[in-house]
C-alpha cells in the first residue's frame, strides 16, 4: 500500500512539474472561422458637406441627429436620419433669423440657441422649432453674450448658461445662469467649483448636466437649482484634458477619451470600456475630442478637431458583426515611454489600411514621472532584452531612450530598406541611419534641432562653444530675478542684456549636451579635450552669472502658443527671456516644429535662428526611432507598420514630438506655409535644417554624471579639474564594461 501511495505521489509531482511546460494547442483545436467570436468596432470618417463640422451633435426626439458646420463665415444646419451615416443640409432650420448665424446648439425638441454676429455686435437668440426667433434676455444679470458652446439644454424648458468672462455681475470669473424658455426669465445659480470649459463637454440627462471637472478628474453633475453631486471620483483618461460626454435614453453615460469610449451604467461607479481608442483617431494626441453622441442604432459619433490644422472631422464607430472580434494577426509595438504621439498616429493610419491586423502597444515605463524612473527603465529594458535574446519579443520597436546602437550592433533588428523609400526622406537626417551596404535597421520618424536665436545678424559668429562663451563674457551677467515677479517682464536695454537665459545647472547641461554629447563620449572613451571645453563653458557661465548666489524662483514651465493653422509651439524659459521678457540677447530651444519661427520674435522685430553652437557640427536629435525585431513572426506586417510611420498621412500631422523626416511633409506642409506668413524671422529654415548632419543622443550615464558635476561646479564645491576627474571616474566603469 505504501509503495503504491509513494508511486502515486511521485507520479503526481512529476505531472505537476510537467504542467509547468508551455502548453501546446491540441491538434484537434477548431480552426479559425469555426469558433472565433465575431463582431468588433469599426471607425469610419463621415464626409460632411458643406463646411467643417463643429460644436455638439444632438439626438432629436424624432430619432434624427442635428449638427452644425461652418464654411468660411456661413453656418449650416445638417440633419441625419440614419444614425450619422449620411447628412444633408436643412437651411429651413436657421431661416427664421434675420441676422447672420454664427454658432448654435440644439435642444432635443428642435429648439436652438443661436449666436448671430452683425459686425462687432453679437446677439443670442432662442429659435423655436416653429421658426419663431426671440432674443435671449438675461434680465441684466450679465453684460456678457453667452457662447452657445458653453450652454446646455437641461430639458425642453431649461437652458443652463455658463459664463466665461469677468462681466458676470456677481463678481466671480465664472458663473451660471438658468433660463426658462417658457417664461423668458433668467436666474443666477450658485457658482460651482469648475471652469466653464468643464461644462462644455457635458451632457444633459434626467434633469442633470453631467460634466468632467478636469482639475479633480471627477465626473460631476449639476441640476437646474444649482445642486451638485460627484458621480465618479476618477474618470479614466481625464488627465489628458481631452474628453466629451454623451448619454442614452436609459440614462447610461458615455465618455470618449484618448483610451476609447467608456460606458457608465445608470447609478454605476465602474466604467467599462466599449471601444478601444488605440488605432483610432481618438488615440492620436493631436486630435481633440469636441463632441460625442450615442445614436439610436447603438453606434457612436465623435467629432474631433486636429491641432495640426485641417479643421474637424466626424468619425462614426459602429459594431460590425461580420468581422471577427480579433484580427488573425496581432502586432506588438514596444516603446519605453508613451511620449511619442507619432506612434499612435502611425498605428491609427496602419489600422485604417489593414483593419484585420490587431495592434498591441506595450509601454515599458507607463509612468515616466514616477518615483524611480531609472529603476523602472532598467526593468523595462531587462524585460525587452530577455524577450529579444530568446528570439521573441515585440514586432516593432521604438528605441527612443535606449542605447539603440547596441540593438543594431547585436543584429536584433531587421533590414527595412525594402519598405522604406529613403528618397522621400530628408537626406541629411536619414543618411546617417543608412548603412554602407544600403541596409536600414532603424530610422527616425521625427527629429528635433537644438537652436539659438536672436536679433537679425546676432547669431552670425556663434559657430562654436568658444564663441558662445566669449559672447557670454562680453555681455552683462544675468541678475537674480524671481521669474514670477513683475521685474522679470521689464525689458532690459540692449547694453544691459545678458547673453543666455540660463538659470540652473540643468539648463547648462541641457544647453551643452544635445550639441556636444557625441563629441564628449566618442569611440567608447571620454574625450578629455571635448569634456574640458564643455565644462569650461559651464564654469564660465556659472561664475559670470554668479549662479551660486541665485536664490529667487528661476524657472517657469514654458508657454505654449499657436497661431492660426500653425502647430502648437512651446517656448521654455530659455526662450521667454529673449522673446517675451526681452532681457536676454539670445534665446535657445529645441525646435520640434518650424512654426517656432513664428513665435520667437520680440514685438515682430527682425530675428534669426541658427543651429546651437556645440562640439558636434550640425547636431540634431533623432526621435521616434523605428525598428523591426529581426525575429518577428510577422515580418511583412511589421515592416508595413514601420513604413506607415513615414507615410504622408502620419508625417503631415504634427504630433509635438518632432519635425517630419519626410521631405515633402516638411517642405510643402510647413516650410512653404511659414514662408507665406511673412514672419519677422528672416532665416531660411530649409537651409537651416539642411545643415543638420550629426545625430546626437545623450547617453544617460553621461548626462547623470555631467549634471552632478555641473551642479558641483555651479555651487563651487568642485573646480574644473575635480569635475573633469569626477566625470571620467563616473564613466570609467561604464566604459570598462564595454571594452
Amino acid at each position: 500500500m505504501k509503495r503504491f501511495l509513494s508511486i502515486l505521489l511521485t507520479g503526481a509531482l512529476t505531472l505537476g512539474l510537467a504542467g509547468c511546460a508551455k502548453e501546446k494547442p491540441a491538434a484537434d483545436t477548431p480552426a479559425i472561422g469555426t469558433s472565433v467570436p465575431m463582431g468588433r468596432w469599426v471607425e469610419q470618417a463621415v464626409p460632411i458637406t458643406p463646411g467643417t463640422p463643429f460644436g455638439t451633435i444632438t439626438q432629436q426626439q424624432d430619432g434624427s441627429l442635428l449638427l452644425f458646420s461652418r464654411e468660411e463665415s456661413a453656418l449650416h444646419a445638417l440633419r441625419s436620419g440614419d444614425s450619422g451615416v449620411t447628412w444633408s443640409e436643412e437651411p429651413a432650420l436657421l431661416a427664421g433669423l434675420e441676422q447672420k448665424p454664427y454658432l448654435a446648439i440644439a435642444a432635443p425638441d428642435g429648439t436652438l440657441l443661436v449666436e448671430t454676429a452683425a459686425g462687432e455686435e453679437e446677439q443670442d437668440w432662442i429659435l423655436h422649432a416653429d421658426g419663431r426667433a426671440e432674443p435671449l434676455d438675461l434680465g441684466g444679470l450679465t453684460e456678457e453674450v453667452p457662447t452657445p458652446n458653453f450652454c446646455h439644454f437641461l430639458d425642453e424648458d431649461t437652458l443652463l448658461i455658463a459664463l466665461r468672462g469677468e462681466s458676470y455681475v456677481y463678481g466671480g470669473s465664472v458663473g451660471l445662469l438658468r433660463y426658462q424658455l417658457s417664461t423668458g426669465t433668467a436666474n443666477a445659480l450658485p457658482e460651482i467649483g469648475a471652469d466653464a470649459t468643464d461644462l462644455r463637454t457635458g451632457t444633459a440627462v434626467g434633469g442633470w448636466l453631467y460634466y468632467i471637472n478636469w482639475e479633480g478628474g471627477q465626473l460631476c453633475a449639476l441640476d437646474a437649482e444649482g445642486n451638485q453631486k460627484t458621480v465618479l471620483d476618477s474618470v479614466p483618461g481625464a488627465d489628458s484634458y481631452n474628453a466629451a460626454l454623451a448619454s442614452d435614453t436609459e440614462g447610461a453615460l458615455y465618455f470618449a477619451v484618448r483610451d476609447g469610449i467608456y460606458r457608465l451604467a445608470p447609478g454605476g461607479t465602474l466604467p467599462e470600456r466599449i471601444v478601444d481608442g488605440l488605432g483610432t483617431a481618438m488615440g492620436v494626441d493631436s486630435n481633440y475630442i469636441d463632441s460625442l453622441c450615442r445614436t439610436a442604432d447603438g453606434s457612436f459619433l465623435v467629432l474631433m478637431s486636429s491641432s495640426s490644422g485641417g479643421g474637424s472631422t466626424l468619425y462614426r464607430y459602429y459594431f460590425d458583426e461580420t468581422l471577427p472580434a480579433a484580427g488573425q494577426t496581432t502586432l506588438e509595438v514596444w516603446c519605453l515611454t508613451d511620449e511619442n504621439s507619432t506612434v499612435r498616429a502611425a498605428i491609427n493610419a496602419y489600422r485604417q489600411a489593414c483593419p484585420e491586423v490587431e495592434i498591441k502597444l506595450t509601454v515599458g515605463v507607463p509612468d515616466p514621472d514616477g518615483d524611480n524612473f531609472s529603476a523602472a527603465r532598467r526593468d523595462a529594458l531587462t524585460n525587452l532584452n530577455t524577450q529579444l535574446l530568446a528570439g521573441e519579443g515585440p514586432d516593432l520597436l521604438i528605441l527612443d531612450g535606449t542605447d539603440y546602437e547596441t540593438y543594431l550592433a547585436k543584429g536584433l533588428l531587421a533590414d527595412l530598406s525594402d519598405v522604406l523609400d529613403t528618397g522621400a526622406l530628408l537626406p541629411n537626417i536619414a543618411g546617417p541611419f543608412v548603412q554602407a551596404d544600403g541596409a536600414i535597421y532603424l530610422m527616425p520618424a521625427r527629429f528635433r534641432v537644438p537652436v539659438l536665436y536672436g536679433d537679425a545678424g546676432a547669431t552670425a559668429g556663434m559657430t562654436d562653444l568658444a564663441a558662445m562663451q566669449a559672447e557670454v563674457l562680453a555681455c552683462a551677467p544675468r541678475p537674480d530675478v524671481d521669474c514670477y515677479s513683475e521685474n522679470y517682464y521689464v525689458p532690459l536695454p540692449n547694453a544691459e542684456k545678458y547673453a543666455l537665459g540660463i538659470t540652473t545647472a540643468e539648463d547648462l547641461a541641457d544647453f551643452v549636451l544635445p550639441t556636444s554629447a557625441a563629441a564628449i563620449l566618442h569611440d567608447n572613451e571620454v574625450e578629455e579635450t571635448a569634456l574640458r571645453e564643455a565644462l569650461t563653458f559651464v564654469q564660465t557661465v556659472a561664475r559670470h552669472y554668479g549662479m551660486e548666489n541665485y536664490h529667487e524662483e528661476q524657472a517657469i514651465n514654458g508657454v505654449s502658443m499657436s497661431g492660426g493653422d500653425g502647430d502648437v509651439v512651446t517656448i521654455m524659459n530659455s526662450g521667454i527671456e529673449y522673446s517675451q521678457s526681452q532681457r536676454a540677447k539670445y534665446g535657445w530651444e529645441t525646435m520640434d516644429t518650424p512654426w517656432m519661427a513664428s513665435m520667437i520674435a520680440q514685438d515682430d522685430l527682425p530675428c534669426e535662428i541658427a543651429l546651437r553652437p556645440g562640439l558636434c557640427e550640425g547636431a540634431y536629435q533623432p526621435a521616434v526611432l523605428t525598428a523591426v525585431n529581426a525575429n518577428t513572426g510577422h515580418p511583412e506586417e511589421a515592416k508595413a507598420l514601420a513604413a506607415a510611420f513615414f507615410d504622408a498621412a502620419v508625417q503631415d500631422v504634427y504630433c509635438q514630438d518632432g519635425m517630419a523626416v519626410r521631405a515633402e511633409s516638411l517642405r510643402e506642409k510647413k516650410l512653404n506655409l511659414i514662408a507665406q506668413e511673412k514672419l519677422a524671422c528672416q532665416t531660411d529654415l530649409e537651409t537651416l535644417l539642411a545643415g543638420c548632419k550629426t545625430p546626437v543622443t545623450v547617453n544617460r550615464e553621461l548626462r547623470d554624471s555631467f549634471l552632478a558635476h555641473t551642479t558641483a561646479l555651479v555651487e563651487g564645491s568642485e573646480d574644473l579639474e575635480a569635475a573633469m576627474a569626477g566625470i571620467q571616474k563616473d564613466m570609467s566603469l561604464y566604459l570598462a564594461e564595454r571594452q
Binding site: 511521485t10 512529476t14 512539474l17 529603476a375 532598467r378 532584452n385 547585436k410
Partner: protein, 269 residues
C-alpha cells in the same frame, strides 16, 4: 535491492526533473552560448572567455566579489559560532535571530540611506562628514549589512550542530580532567564538521544576495569597492553582451564549484 533502488529513483524523480529543467539545462545552454555570438548561432571558440578575462570591469568585479567572500564568510562563521555558544542555553533569543532576514530589502535600503548618507544619522552622531557610500567605507558598510543579516541564521545552524553532540562525551572528558577549552577543541570542533560544511555553503551563497541592497542604494554603477559581479552581469545584460555574460557566468560557476567541492568533501564523516 533492485526494488529499493527503483523506489529511491522514483522518489528522486520529481526533484531531479525540476533541477534538470530549471537548473541543469539552462546552465548547459549558458555554457553553449558562452562559445557563441550574441544570437547564439555562430561558434566563436574561446573569444568570449578571452574578452571577459581581459575586461577591466570583470577583473574589478571578480576581485571585489572574491574580497567580499574572503572577508565575510570566515567572519560570519566565527561570529555566528560565538553567538551560538554564548546563547546556547537562551532559547528565547533564537527566534529573534531570524528577524533581520524578515526585514524587507526596501526597509533596509531606507535605513541605509538614513544612516549612511553624508548628512545621515551616523555622521551626525559621530560629528563626521564621511561619504560612506562614495568611498572605500562602502565596502565595510556592505560587510556590516551582510553580517547583521546572516549572523542570527548561521548561529541557529550552529546551535543545531551543537545540540547533536552527545552530552556523554563532555561528561567523560570532564572525568578525564579536560577543561572547557580542551573539550571545545577535542569534542565540539571536530563534531561540528558536517555543520561547518553546510553553514559555509549557505553563507557563501548568501553573499550573492547582498547585491540587492548594494544595487538599490548605490545604483548600477556604485563606488568601485562594492562593484560586484552581479552589477556587471546586470549591466552586460542591458547592453546585450550575452556572450561575455555567459562566459563570465560559467567562469564564476567554475570558481564556486572549485570552492564548494572541498567543503563537501571535508564535511563528510
Amino acid at each position: 535491492m533492485k526494488k529499493q533502488t527503483l523506489t529511491a529513483w522514483l522518489f528522486l524523480a520529481p526533484s531531479l526533473t525540476g533541477v534538470t529543467v530549471f537548473v541543469l539545462l539552462p546552465f548547459a545552454e549558458t555554457v553553449r552560448r558562452s562559445f557563441c555570438d550574441a544570437l547564439g548561432k555562430r561558434f566563436v571558440g574561446m573569444a568570449n572567455y578571452r574578452a571577459v578575462l581581459e575586461n577591466r570591469a570583470f577583473r574589478l568585479a571578480a576581485g571585489n566579489t572574491a574580497r567580499f567572500i574572503a572577508v565575510c564568510v570566515p567572519l560570519l562563521l566565527l561570529l555566528s559560532l560565538l553567538l551560538a555558544l554564548a546563547l546556547r542555553r537562551q532559547k528565547i533569543y533564537k527566534t529573534t535571530f531570524l528577524l533581520p532576514m524578515a526585514v524587507p530589502v526596501a526597509s533596509i535600503v531606507l535605513l541605509w540611506r538614513v544612516l549612511f548618507a553624508q548628512n545621515g544619522l551616523l555622521n551626525t552622531w559621530l560629528h563626521t562628514k564621511v561619504d560612506f557610500m562614495g568611498s572605500e567605507a562602502a565596502f565595510w558598510v556592505l560587510i556590516a549589512t551582510y553580517l547583521w543579516k546572516n549572523v542570527g541564521y548561521d548561529s541557529l545552524l550552529w546551535s543545531g550542530g551543537l545540540d547533536a553532540i552527545p552530552e556523554e562525551l563532555y561528561e567523560a572528558a570532564a572525568v578525564d580532567g579536560a577543561g572547557a577549552l580542551r573539550s571545545f577543541m577535542a569534542i565540539t570542533l571536530p563534531s561540528l564538521g558536517p555543520t561547518l560544511g553546510m553553514t559555509a555553503v549557505l553563507s557563501l551563497l548568501n553573499t550573492f544576495k547582498v547585491f540587492r541592497e548594494a544595487y538599490l542604494v548605490a545604483g548600477a554603477y556604485p563606488h568601485d569597492s562594492i562593484y560586484l559581479l552581479q552589477h556587471l552581469f546586470n549591466n552586460w545584460f542591458l547592453a546585450l553582451e550575452l556572450p561575455r555574460l555567459t562566459a563570465a557566468a560559467v567562469l564564476a560557476a567554475a570558481v564556486l564549484l572549485a570552492l564548494l567541492f572541498p567543503i563537501w568533501r571535508g564535511g563528510k564523516p
